[in-house]
Symmetry: C2
Subunit: 387 residues, 2 copies
């Protein structure tokens, strides 16, 4: 089991904080925006006497509200096609466990969300990656790269759209290509769409569930990011494939039920929060514009302009970004402040790739991002002198 590149440096950050250092967390997609007030109020109004198990598939009320939510994105599903999970994390793990056998192969784009690799390892699934390149703005690799990676043990492709960690939003044409590969090789398509609402350049949203290959698609979702409620651990697995659904349900019954309180909060978040969603969108877009511009103004730093989500993978003028990230936490301070970032190598499977890259989340408010950029600029100058 590999350590999470997002969290493995956390003990160093804790040490720094103990010394009174202020740490700007660019390493983790933990938004500082408030949770909708409506959702917080729902908690205060819980009038249950016993906090009991919920159904293994999640409360019907929540699943029905989700049906309405997906409809707004032209995705038609029924409540019975939705399974509520303990975060998107559990949805991915149970989906993989249900669709692939040990030693089967899963194809994903690298750099990809590092924990996908952890979940695949948990299920003893082999991961093969096709590489997207920073020079191309992390666009979908050419079809030939997928064809090359597909072998007799390949059972599935996993896409994250918009992408964590690169922020890339796949075009309808790219999704069409993926569809053709999926059909040609009879694969499952796992599509992690938790960032669907965060597309900053007016790109159309095409859910994998709308590609016309219902038996192939397992859509992963989560309320964590869109309502700033990562802590409640509520995600979903959505599929039209009845056999996959029923298999996932066996795993769900074994773990009994998804979190009850999180479901109450999630259900209250879905309707009547359109204004909230718009404000979040505007805020993240402004942060993106500000942060990516600032990054590219630092000598030697390059970041493509991410089209969605709230991450970017940037290259730094260092040889070993992990060493640099550690050093930031253990040694470097600018007026008692430092920055935490996730070394990007952990988001690649191919050894050696991404060594000079970091993944950053621009989820902090603009003044904090400005300060983090200042710290990063100073740190790179000092680090360069030291090496």
């Amino acid at each position: 089991m590999p350590s999470s590149p997002i969290r493995k440096l956390a003990p160093l950050a804790r040490e720094a904080k103990k010394e009174g250092v202020k740490v700007y967390h660019l390493n983790i997609g933990q938004p500082d925006l408030p949770t909708p007030q409506k959702a917080l109020d729902a908690l205060k109004n819980v009038d249950r006497k016993t906090l009991e198990y919920s159904p293994s598939e999640g409360y019907p009320g929540l699943r029905e509200k989700l049906v309405g939510y997906y409809k707004k994105f032209n995705v038609d599903v029924t409540p019975d096609e939705i399974i509520v999970t303990c975060g998107g994390s559990e949805a991915i793990l149970l989906g993989l466990l249900s669709c692939l056998d040990p030693d089967d192969e899963l194809i994903m784009v690298e750099p990809g969300y590092a924990n996908y690799i952890s979940f695949a390892k948990t299920a003893h699934i082999k991961v093969k990656t096709v590489t997207s390149r920073i020079e191309d703005g992390f666009a979908l690799p050419p079809v030939e790269a997928f064809e090359e990676a597909i072998g007799p043990k390949t059972k599935a492709i996993l896409l994250c759209n918009p992408s964590n960690p690169t922020g890339y939003v796949y075009t309808p044409e790219e999704l069409q290509k993926i569809k053709e590969i999926v059909v040609k090789h009879d694969l499952f398509l796992f599509s992690d769409e938790v960032y669907r609402e965060f597309r900053y350049n007016g790109q159309p949203y095409v859910s994998a569930l709308s590609l016309g290959i219902p038996e192939h698609v397992i859509m992963i979702d989560s309320v964590s990011k869109r309502y700033s409620e990562c802590g409640i651990r509520i995600g979903m697995l959505v599929t039209h494939n009845k056999e996959v659904h029923d298999t996932v349900m066996k795993f769900c019954q074994a773990r009994l039920s998804p979190p009850l309180l999180g479901q109450i909060v999630a259900e209250a978040s879905i309707e009547g929060t359109e204004q909230y969603a718009k404000e979040c969108f505007d805020e993240y877009k402004a942060r993106r514009d500000f942060f990516i511009k600032g990054l590219n103004e630092i000598p030697g730093v390059y970041s493509p302009m991410p089209g969605g989500a709230f991450y970017t993978v940037a290259s730094l003028p260092v040889e070993d970004a992990e060493d640099f990230c550690r050093w930031l936490l253990t040694d470097f301070r600018l007026n008692g402040e430092t920055v935490m970032m996730a070394p990007a190598a952990g988001f690649y499977s191919t050894p050696g790739l991404g060594k000079n890259q970091v993944r950053m989340a621009y989820v902090l408010k603009e003044e904090d991002l400005a300060q983090a950029l200042k710290v990063l600029r100073a740190a790179l100058a000092t680090y360069k002198d030291r090496h």
Copy 2:
């Protein structure tokens, strides 16, 4: 992946309820006792603006309170030896994934908690069982049975003490025998102790963590049952073994964090609830006495007197208890009421065992238990006539 014997008949129960039938749920350990008021109040007082990720290992405040709780049971641990999980379920799964490789063997006592087998299958671990017998009140099988089951691939023994599903409480002498086997064969000992407070015959409590084999033991715990808060999904994995701890943490980092709101409720439940715990204990003991006596008064039914937890495995005068359990939900009604039970065969690994047995949870209030017994008695008479 096998279906959960506890939950697989749930769709039939839902159908019955839709027809207006009242179903007494003896199938699931979902207590009807209230959650401590203190814990419910903690929810109303959540003053966070953002429901954010918690640390992957859980909040320090909760882990520190747990240290004090365990101390009362003569178990000395530090906060750093406790990992907060999404229910005891996740603790077991991550513990198994961390300590055993695929095709390694895990030994458990049968009948055992059915979902252990599901978690072992998830981790591609082979389960070998030693059989405890209803005639012996489900006492620990003789050491020879363990010795026979242990082979070169055996890596761990898993005990549930007090036991779900049998209610058996292992004696200090039995635990001593287990300790000797564990040391002799250099095994891990997984000890699920979530029912530690429910020992009705004044039996001493000996945690596996107190056996003097700290490197071998992984203790599983949960707040679900002792505070009647199954829905919040808060469990723990506790071990003195640093390597195991650190490996489990890698899995925990991949899934990001345990439920935030559940941790707030759990933390508020631990201190100042001694009177609550006493009342729960008295209530469950009274229910046990009432229910087991009533069961044994039904012709052909036999249940040993469980020493702890709130379950029993009883034999019924039927050939196929699963068929009987299904028929109860689909066909039988006594004045518009029926009973749901878990067929016990799913709690055994050895094919054919437990076919005439059911697992029942006596977590309902006495008048409901009385009514459930009445329904069961009538159902058995009718079913016998039909067959």
